[in-house]
């Protein structure tokens, strides 16, 4: 089931595989999407739903599954769900569900803006007596804080058990309700539901694939969670052919999340120190972050964290100075992309390094973002072409309209030309967590340089400027280890002799022992005593020994291909793969064999060469120690080793700020009143009430039409890597708006001619592509129209058009601050726009 993704369009080569499954193995492909797209065209079933109603649809699937005869009669589902998920776990008796509070959960603050999550917690047995009394190190401290095991009811009958709560929560998500909310017929919905159900079980698995069609919502995280729940209920996680596959958008967007250039995260999913929390010292930081998760593999948090700080500051990082923790910056709020531009507009941000990103086109409420750029003192842009971000001061729509004047813009701008991928070496992490190395084929032309060159040489200069400082505030930059100088062999044969060593950087990411500089082969070998450095623990093993780079392996086989690249963690391609075996450790079926318990050797094995995502010798059925950490605490039947209870979470007692169970809320801007609850939208949604960022009201008569933005096969993101390429420009030359004939007739819009799309943020003109691939929905007896626009265009390059993101608003999911680009409201009319 592909949902929230236009896979054929945006990931054409990945789509090779589901299509192969269909034509060669009879797999059924289903597409659930508001539009009929190139993906729908190749699928067996297309369920067309109103944009932003994914949770209603998925919730309907959950209810259908757990009430079905098949699910209740096939023992496979019970064995998987009772043992591998938290279905049996008992939840705090004070918890109140949306069923009781008309769309809200217990714990909402008086002002309705934030949830307190105490009532969402598990019922637990008393805490064990700690196994250690002394506190030599962080691990000892964690051992003294192990909570009692969660209480369970394996019969799933207790009213407070997760399964019963889930069942009640989704009981109103009936096929009739799905039809009413999503505008998709009951018959098509049931076809999807039965196909999923009938193709899941001991001998079959179903996969769900999504992309930004799910993330870019004010309930984005919860949509994805619903899919995770559904797959857990169907026993489809940790097994070949199952899972929830995220199709990400950029060559190493996975890598840039793993090794986060993201404000909230340190590499390897350690959290960024946050001054609002009890993160005052390294001990506070580790205890605050690790205590709640110490019974999962995160029980090793101290080793990962200390090795990270040691990697930053080297010899200067000592036990006495908390490994430099005190000099590391702390966040104090949400510093993500949207607030970054709000704060830039407010003059708080003065200098801006913009490296391979084009917010003047790609940013939400792009007019707002461009005007914010004009407030900067300076900006460094690194790219291949004169992007819209680089040129905003001379020919942006705001300059053309006279809203901004070039002479008034004081922003000093340095454009540094970038090398392209074949002109440098380095590793990318693809959407399946697979690291792949690309070699350098040629020197880049003229002054073009790799981005690593830029950061390395900028760092060198800055370190030089600070080298004599004795200020506390300069300690970090002064003591930052910065040895990426290339070895002679690395630059021999190339014109550019000061290109930094990508290998050295990857080795630091991998980790090595500080004393002898030998690579660490496994994250299990990292230490919390400062003897190891490790940039990002999840990548450990990519360089298991000096000179051996596993991301550069290029030997494939017909299946897992363990010798092609390196899948983090530890070359595990399918996470939680202990779940591919039953309670006894035997494969669920011969067809779906992956990882299983080998009695003879007393080990988990995988003939396919798959990395074992479990303790290698922990026998099935073995009990964990109540007073242990990580694998000591986890039992032999706890496959979900990154969860503190070892189970897949149907109910999320922690980790989410907007509820433990996904609930259908309408998009922030919607023409429809929530048919399910009194609560209209996500109660804790992130909004920015600032000038230039007005929102539409619910069912706003001025903006009655739903709009989605998306990508095309022929272009890439904000167009920097496609609109300058004539071969691609001629394939999709001009901006268009997809609109149904019904709406076009109503508005007098003529196919092929210009139309204008308008929101409170801006207006754009586009060619009208009138097509029955778009259709009006009937929601609660009322017609709801929807239009769609690709967002690749800007005013530069060999294909040009208006910036579609001028239309969208700064509004975001409360968990991760991703914007709601997939659904908001607008109005449309025939003809070109006036002004800008």
């Amino acid at each position: 089931m592909i949902m929230g993704s236009n896979m054929a369009e945006c990931h054409p080569v990945a789509f090779r595989w589901p299509l192969k499954a269909k034509t060669e193995h009879g797999a059924v492909l289903m597409h659930v999407d508001p539009r009929f797209t190139r993906t729908s065209a190749l699928c067996d079933i297309h369920a067309q739903i109103r944009a932003g109603t994914d949770i209603a649809f998925l919730g309907g699937l959950i209810t259908h599954v757990i009430n079905s005869d098949r699910w209740n009669s096939d023992p496979f589902f019970r064995e998987y769900v009772v043992n591998y998920t938290n279905a049996a776990t008992l939840v705090n008796s004070e918890f109140k569900d949306t069923e009781e509070l008309d769309g809200l959960f217990s714990g909402l603050s008086a002002d309705g803006r934030v949830y307190s999550r105490e009532s969402w917690s598990y019922q637990r047995n008393p805490a064990p007596k700690p196994s250690v009394t002394e506190s030599k190190n962080f691990t000892d401290l964690l051992l003294q804080r192990i909570p009692g095991r969660p209480k369970t009811d394996p019969t799933l009958k207790d009213r407070q058990c997760v399964f019963q709560i889930v069942k009640r929560h989704y009981s109103r998500y009936t096929p009739e309700m799905v039809e009413r909310v999503c505008g998709c017929s009951k018959e098509v919905f049931l076809k999807v539901a039965d196909t999923l159900l009938n193709n899941s079980g001991r001998d079959r698995t179903s996969n769900i694939t999504y992309a930004v069609g799910w993330t870019q919502h004010t309930v984005g995280v919860q949509i994805i969670r619903t899919a995770g729940m559904l797959q857990a209920l169907l026993g489809n996680i940790g097994r070949p052919g199952g899972g929830v596959l995220a199709l990400r958008g950029h060559a190493t967007i996975q890598g840039s999340t793993d090794i986060a250039t993201l404000y909230h995260s340190l590499p390897g999913y350690l959290n960024m120190p946050d001054a609002r929390l009890n993160h005052d010292t390294l001990k506070d930081f580790i205890l605050t972050e690790a205590t709640p998760v110490a019974t999962s593999y995160w029980g090793n948090y101290p080793k990962f964290a200390v090795s990270y700080f040691k990697a930053q500051f080297g010899d200067a990082a000592t036990k006495e100075n908390d490994y430099g923790y005190n000099y590391h910056p702390k966040i104090t709020g949400d510093h993500s992309h949207l607030p970054m531009f709000v704060d830039m507009m407010a003059g708080r941000i003065k200098g801006f390094l913009c490296v391979g990103q084009n917010p003047a086109v790609g940013g939400q409420n792009a007019r707002f973002q461009r005007k914010a750029l004009a407030k900067l003192d300076w900006m460094v842009v690194r790219d291949f072409f004169e992007t819209e971000t680089a040129s905003f001061w001379r020919n942006s729509p705001e300059i053309i309209s006279g809203e901004l004047k070039t002479a008034d813009i004081k922003t000093e701008i340095i454009f540094l030309p970038s090398a392209t991928v074949p002109e440098m070496e380095g590793s990318f992490t693809n959407t399946q967590r697979l690291l792949q190395y690309h070699d350098k084929a040629a020197d880049p032309p003229d002054d073009c340089r790799s981005n690593l060159w830029f950061t390395f040489h900028l760092g060198k200069r800055l370190k030089e400027l600070y080298k004599n400082s004795s200020n506390d505030r300069d300690w970090a930059i002064k003591n930052l280890t910065w040895d990426y100088e290339p070895g002679p062999a690395e630059v021999a044969g190339w014109r550019i002799k000061d290109e930094p060593s990508s290998y050295k950087a990857l080795k630091e990411i991998n980790g090595y022992t500080w004393s002898d500089k030998k690579p660490v082969s496994s994250f299990a070998n990292l230490k919390e005593d400062g003897s190891t450095v490790c940039g990002a623990w999840i990548y450990t093993g990519v360089i298991p020994e000096e000179g051996r780079n596993l991301s550069a392996r290029r030997q494939a086989d017909n299946w897992i291909s363990p010798n092609w690249g390196f899948a983090w963690p530890a070359n595990r391609h399918i996470m939680y793969n202990r779940a591919s075996a039953d309670l006894k450790g035997a494969p669920w079926s011969e067809r779906k064999k992956l990882v299983f318990w080998d009695q003879a050797s007393g080990k988990w094995v995988s003939p396919a060469g798959e990395g074992i995502d479990f303790a290698p010798a922990k026998a099935p059925g073995s009990k964990g120690k109540d007073d242990g950490l990580a694998f000591d605490w986890l039992g032999g039947d706890d496959p979900f080793i990154m969860r503190p209870d070892g189970k897949a979470w149907l109910f999320a007692p922690s980790g989410l700020v907007d509820g433990p169970l996904p609930t259908h809320y309408e998009p922030y801007e919607s023409p429809v009143r929530n048919p399910l609850y009194k609560q209209q939208a996500n109660p804790v949604v992130k909004v920015w009430h600032v000038e230039g960022n007005s929102y539409h009201k619910v069912a706003d008569p001025k903006y009655p039409i739903v709009i989605s933005t998306y990508r095309l096969t022929e272009h890439y993101l904000s167009g920097v890597m496609s609109r300058w390429l004539p071969w691609l420009a001629e394939l999709m030359p001009e901006l268009f708006c997809e609109i149904s004939p019904e709406l076009a007739n109503e508005k007098g819009i003529v196919h092929g001619e210009f139309m204008t799309i308008e929101t409170a943020r801006g207006q754009v003109q586009a060619r009208a592509l009138v097509t029955r691939r778009m259709r009006p929905f009937v929601i609660d007896g009322k017609t709801v129209h929807q239009v769609g626009m690709p967002w690749h265009w800007g005013w530069q390059g060999t294909a040009q058009g208006d910036v579609v993101n001028n239309l969208s608003a700064l509004v975001a999911d409360p968990n991760v601050t991703i914007h709601e680009g997939k659904v908001f409201t607008c109005n449309v009319r025939a003809g070109k726009r006036g002004g800008v």
Partner: protein, 276 residues
């Protein structure tokens, strides 16, 4: 062994990778008619939006040797919706109209059965342009000769497949030996028929003496703009003496065209001389 391609439109996603891969390997320019210089713009900008579904290149040309067709079949109730795609190119006919009408024998079958325009021989009569029943071969103002897909002549003579087939993400374009490809097409057709795709058919076994590039279509050929019975003009019957004369003439034409290229003049006179 004759080589060819089987295009299975039932698994084409209309991604156009074939179009770009073709241009990349064969070093083809963007189609000049797609771009326009606007006042104030330092470089030409594409303006070739057609509104014809996702197809903007519209047809084959001297620089577009491949083209992907988009056909939306959706009724007002949106029941049984289909979006059909077809990646089109030269079909490398066994009985090739272009070859038949070329007065200078600049078009030939190679030992692998593909039809190529010998750029060293072509003098730009454009007769082939008119003769091709599929509108494939096209004249280039830049080179003053005609161009079309060569079935990646250089690649296939070196044991490689065509660039388009290699790039095709779903395997919709398959390159190989004709009998194998036919077996594949037949198997796929019977599979689709068994799934209830009653309109599916294979196009190209009988047309123009048999096409080296044939198609599994999901609807009648006319839906894709393909003639059921393409009209192929035949080569004039020539005496053995005539054959020798025409070979001589062709040699002469080649020499003249080589000389006249570069000088950039006299093409029309050359052509008159040859065709007269």
């Amino acid at each position: 062994m004759a080589k060819g391609m089987f295009v299975d439109t039932s698994i084409c996603t209309g991604c156009k990778a074939c179009q770009v891969a073709c241009k990349e390997w064969n070093g083809l320019d963007p189609e000049p008619s797609h771009f326009r210089k606007e006042p104030g713009m330092p470089y030409p900008v594409a303006f070739n939006f057609t509104g014809n579904s996702y197809d903007n290149t519209a047809k084959l040309s001297a620089t577009d040797w491949r083209h992907v067709l988009f056909i939306e079949q959706i009724n007002y109730r949106r029941v049984g919706s289909r979006w059909l795609f077809m990646s089109d190119s030269c079909k490398h006919c066994a009985d090739a109209a272009c070859l038949n009408v070329c007065p200078v024998s600049a078009i030939e079958h190679t030992d692998l059965g593909n039809v190529i325009v010998r750029q060293d021989k072509c003098v730009g009569t454009k007769l082939c342009n008119k003769a091709c029943p599929y509108g494939v071969i096209r004249f280039s103002e830049k080179t003053r000769t005609s161009h079309k897909c060569t079935l990646c002549n250089d690649r296939i003579h070196n044991g490689l497949g065509t660039a388009c087939a290699k790039a095709c993400p779903t395997g919709s374009i398959a390159f190989g030996d004709i009998p194998e490809l036919k077996a594949k097409a037949d198997a796929r057709l019977s599979r689709l028929r068994s799934l209830g795709e009653n309109k599916a058919n294979v196009y190209g076994y009988s047309q123009a003496g048999g096409l080296k590039v044939f198609y599994l279509l999901m609807d009648k050929p006319e839906v894709y703009g393909l003639p059921e019975n393409p009209v192929v003009p035949q080569r004039r019957q020539l005496s053995s003496l005539g054959t020798r004369i025409s070979t001589l003439l062709a040699g002469l034409a080649a020499l003249i065209s080589l000389r006249s290229r570069g000088s950039g003049s006299g093409i029309d006179e050359d052509r008159r001389e040859i065709s007269g």
